[in-house]
Amino acid sequence: MPKPKEQWGTRLGMILAVAGSAVGLGNFLRFPGTAAQNGGGAFMIPYFCALLFLGIPICWSEWTMGKYGGQFGFNSCPAIFGVLGRGRVWRYLGVLGLIIPIIIYMYYVLIESWCMGYAYMYLTGGIDLGTDPGQFKEKCLEFFNGFVGANQDGLMLQGSIHSSVVIWAVVFAINFFFIYRGVSKGIERFCMYAMPLMAVCAFVVLIRVLTLGTPNPELPDQNVVNGLGFMWNPKPVDAGFQHRYLWPPGPFRILYDPGTWIDALARPKVWMAAAGQIFFSLSVGFGVIINYASYLKKKDDVVLAGLTATATNEFFEVCLGGLITIPAAFLFLGIAGAQATGNFDLGFKTLPIVFEYMGQPWGRIVGFLFFFMLFLAAITSSLSMLQPAIAFLEEALGTGRRGAVAVLGLVTGCGSVFVIYFSNGLKALSFLDDTIGTIMIVVLATVQTVLFGWVFGVKRAVQFANTGAQMRLPRLFPFVIKYVTPAYLLFMLGMWCRTDLARYVNLVRSDNVVLLTFLLIVVVTVFLLVLIAVGGRRWKAETRDPAPARGVAPATGGAS
């Protein structure tokens, strides 16, 4: 018997609600750049390992922890960690769930404004790469560097305010307008329905990229098939790397030859980058899912919802983002150009050339639609990044929503101006993304996994996760989340400390901009720790300590 149409409509709407929130800048901009920097095809091995053993299990654990904490009436990461861990230490470790979305927002909103800026430029004809295809690459790079001020620090704020700073201010104001007026759900729901249009746009661009053939006959090797090969062929991380790795440490060590693609598997930074990318694009290890899940009812599903969001995200990332930007970068910038890039800027340096090859006016129309859709996808993510901090400020300080928004606006505004000012080579942005968007996310994921699997108890957690679930957690999940995931994360962090920590410390000590950026992270962290201490006293005074004695039952009316 056929199902009523309304039921199908509701289910499709629900799929869009889950999927719409999953897609962001990480899929189309960060993923291709990160893959290109970390060995192209070889990167996909640690990437899929990270998806299966880190991304999906941690996603499920975050939804479960958030839903559990919400039953006590808490919505912020420190308070929920306090409930789960029953100790003050866990509450303070919850600071990671605040630093990450706040600091990522500081640079994410800037990249979001670049998307808006590019869309505006396409609409008004501001991007003109000329008529000579041989000049497209230079003109595209020149436009991007001028637009973001990548040639000099302070360029964007010297003399007259640069147009891209004005666009950033507008985008920043739009974000806080929606949050301040409490109507962010409205824009998120709108974006949810705009997602299919985004997918259509991405398919159009994908088809154009795959039909480009050999755009420059003088460089026959730079063709589409080789572009796909650059993305998917397993190969060493970089040819210039001369050291041999002894991996793993101890009696089972194997000597890897840097000339083969197996070398990529011996590079901790590649595994860190893969894990960081999975976490970034799934918003796992962000503190965002925990916050949103805390508003769910006990009978709400977290298993199928989490997996559907993950699958949709992967579709946009691997099947669309991965097939568009990297082959395009290879076609127009060559191997060196595609590798020598920051995490986010690859798309801005290559896609305008693709749109130019579409001919006019189609190139302009698709260029506008693509970057505008990217902006819409980004704004849903940036609004969701603000929510955990607002929930925390409301809970910790007892301020109303508007007070919390004002404090958060001041903090993120200062941080974002800092990133704009230190624009030379996008050094501040890249350092924040490397530290917070890669390393700190892995640290938070480790803390969460230990809390979920070892402190809270995996048996109890699985039972709670399966409550109301449309699909039960796999039987292997308890073993994976208790042993495999934490071992994977700890091993990765250990290897990173062994091979990259010294380089990281040297970078901080030797470069003033990097040092200042590091200090920005420290200042924000200290500020939030103080607020957690204030919040802890407040919760105790209200006799709703998030670290209650064992045996305390969840509040019945806490969650919506």
Binding site: R11, I15, A17, M44, G182, N233, K299, D300, T308, V318
Partner: protein
């Protein structure tokens, strides 16, 4: 593009397409899925309450 590259590409895309198909089929075939599944976009965070 090498044979290994084609294999990596086909397996990766095949895996992702299979995963998304499984999820969507599961959602569309479960009668009560729409009532109990939520994404951040439709979770009420009580924005208008304070």
């Amino acid at each position: 593009m090498t044979l290994a590259g084609w294999i990596f590409m086909v397996l990766s895309i095949g895996f992702v397409v299979s995963l998304i198909s499984f999820c969507f089929l599961k959602v569309l075939s479960e009668p009560s899925a729409a009532n109990h599944m939520h994404g951040p976009a439709d979770i009420d965070t009580h924005d208008l309450d304070t």
